[in-house]
């Protein structure tokens, strides 16, 4: 896809101070994409200039790559979608050879989303990435099934969370963001486990477990039966969890889940998010990341907010 700067959407000029710091990662504005919805940005470069974003969060990467799940991999649901991509990825070497250099050439800040099927795999992915200079922060996705623990999702058990975050922490001095799963009874407990093990920041929410059925054919809509729910429908769940976690821990939060406008982003910031990620909305409109950033600017200008950071946790209740 060749450049076509004229037709791209741009974040507009403003006197509002947009910079935030996400656990050691300086971001020029609070907007990144949600991992897995933006690849490493290149596919969107006909629509947005990825260097303008606060960061580009790359698709989850494992050590040697994964095949992902069988198709169909997605289904539409009311105001949302299910996916069971299964973290298909070509492995960390490909990311380092191909995606990171491109991001660097664009002048973008990279958050690398890290996945693993074992505690060791997470560490190995990070160790490999320590050689790349274009990594601004890691986002450790603890919603992966863990073969060490019988396939259980690491992120649902505080002890496993502590273990994996601790191991990642020892492997790097770079900002370490831990991405929580919403499919737990008490997200604050998991958040505290991650922070106690050394997380610099937390991101949430990952997708909510869901299912869709094709009644006519009496079959599940996804080949893997169950998938992850995302999009506007999950926003109330995400806001609640961001709020709960904000009240439970002291590290900055990267909020996501159904964000498709500047107002949505402001809602997350008021609940305690320092930065926000735009996911499914990228499929609805490929300029969604930039649209969200411009919407944040609109809000700040209208409300006379001179520094976006003032909004963080500013909910009055």
């Amino acid at each position: 896809m060749a450049e076509n700067t004229d037709s791209r959407a741009h974040i507009r000029e403003t006197s509002v101070s947009l910079a935030v710091n996400l656990g050691g990662l300086p971001m020029k504005n609070p907007v990144t994409d949600a991992s897995g919805t933006f690849a490493a940005g290149r596919e969107f470069s006909a629509f947005v200039d990825v260097a303008e974003l606060g960061a580009v969060t790359t698709k989850g990467v494992s050590l040697n790559g994964w095949q992902g799940n069988a198709a169909p991999r997605i289904a539409e649901t009311p105001s949302g979608m299910l996916n069971s991509i299964g973290l298909q990825n070509p492995g960390v070497a490909h990311l380092m050879a191909d995606e990171l250099p491109w991001l660097k050439s664009q002048g973008a800040t990279a958050i690398v989303n890290v996945s693993g099927h074992s505690f060791d795999e997470y560490v190995q992915v990070i160790e490999a990435l320590e050689d790349a200079d274009a990594v601004g922060a890691y986002e450790v996705n603890i919603s992966c099934p863990n073969v060490d623990e019988g396939g259980m999702t690491i992120g649902t058990d505080p002890a496993s969370v502590q273990k994996v975050v601790g191991a990642c922490r020892r492997a790097t001095k770079r900002p370490l963001i831990v991405k929580l799963t919403p499919n737990v009874t008490d997200v604050a407990e998991i958040a505290r486990a991650a922070v106690s093990a050394g997380a610099d920041a937390l991101s949430l929410i990952n997708t909510v477990l869901g299912m869709a059925v094709d009644a006519e054919r009496r079959r599940p809509q996804l080949a893997r039966v169950v998938g992850g729910l995302s999009g506007p429908c999950v926003k109330p769940i995400a806001l609640r969890q961001v709020w709960e976690v904000h009240n439970a821990v002291d590290v900055p939060l990267l909020g996501m889940g159904g964000i498709s406008s500047g107002i949505d982003a402001i809602e997350f910031m008021l609940c305690g998010a320092t930065a926000v990620a735009v996911g499914t909305a990228n499929f609805v409109c490929p300029t969604a990341t930039v649209d969200v950033a411009n919407g944040i600017i609109d809000y700040c200008e209208r409300q006379g907010v001179s520094d976006v950071a003032e909004l963080i946790g500013g909910l009055q209740c």
Binding site: A39, G68, S79
Partner: protein, 276 residues
């Protein structure tokens, strides 16, 4: 390929043309100019905010001067049911319809036709899969190819592309209907096999290419027929798509080169490489 754009299109018409079949004309000046055969557009369903995903449709016809494209579509589920209800007034009232395109690759046959000369190409379209073959036929004929067209449908009134093809070819396409209400009774794979056996109807020469679009089972059979006849064959894949631009990995097609993205690496693939 041209960069994709997101155009706010006016809906100029949206009329029933057959059983559960609709023909839609959209004002999309940039896409109308830049679309190549086989490419698709990714449409937002108008006035339906709970349906967040776009729907992919091939471009059936384009008029670069008028700045319009035509989409022929079948109502199969909730999204297309709502689409069929859209009227120009509704779309105008909601500020136009968001159309992303042109997306995807194109038929290799076109490049080949433009570089080589006088190719003999067999096009096989099943059901609404006939639509994306129309642009292809136009470009191939422009490039001096001899083109034969085989169409299949359930009933005569579902053979809605027949007349346009006839006008373009200057002769009737070979048709089959499941219920025998028009042309050969049964599946159009009988006709494609006969065509491969007999050679091009224009001069009897063997085909250089087969291009198929339709349901997977149809494409699989025609691909096997072409393989048997040692004729290179391309197929147009259909997968559920979220982004439509290669980022989300929703739409993977299993190929002998590994998993490919239907939206960005396809939708057109060399039939030999597709793992059915």
């Amino acid at each position: 390929m041209a960069n994709p754009v997101n155009e706010r299109a006016r809906l100029l018409s949206n009329d029933p043309v057959g059983p559960r079949l609709y023909l839609m004309r959209l004002e999309t000046p940039i896409i109308a100019k830049t679309t190549r055969p086989g490419q698709f557009v990714h449409l937002q369903i108008p006035a339906a905010d709970a349906h967040i995903l776009r729907r992919p449709f091939c471009v059936y016809a384009r008029d670069a001067e008028a700045g319009t494209i035509d989409v022929l579509y079948q109502v199969v589920g909730e999204g297309t049911r709502l689409l069929a209800k859209a009227t120009p007034a509704v779309v105008d009232a909601t500020g136009g319809m968001s159309v992303l395109g042109p997306l995807g690759n194109s038929w290799a046959a076109v490049d080949e036709a433009q570089s080589g000369s006088g190719l003999h190409v067999l096009l096989v379209g099943g059901g609404v899969g006939a639509a994306p073959l129309y642009l292809l036929a136009e470009d191939l004929i422009d490039a001096g190819c001899a083109v034969d067209v085989v169409l299949g449908a359930q009933t005569e009134d579902a053979l809605v592309t027949r007349e346009r093809f006839a006008a373009l070819l200057g002769r009737e396409p070979a048709c089959a209907t499941d219920d025998g209400s028009y042309g050969r009774p049964g599946f159009c794979t009988t006709l494609s096999q006969e065509a491969l056996d007999a050679g091009c109807s224009v001069d009897g020469a063997p085909f250089d290419r087969v291009c198929v679009c339709g349901p997977d089972p149809l494409m699989k059979i025609v691909a096997a027929q072409a393989h048997e006849a040692h004729v290179p064959c391309e197929v147009s894949t259909e997968r559920r798509m979220a982004c439509g631009i290669g980022a989300c990995l929703s739409c993977v097609v299993e190929t002998t080169d590994g998993l490919k993205r239907s939206c960005a690496d396809g939708p057109i693939f060399d039939a030999e490489k597709v793992v059915w």
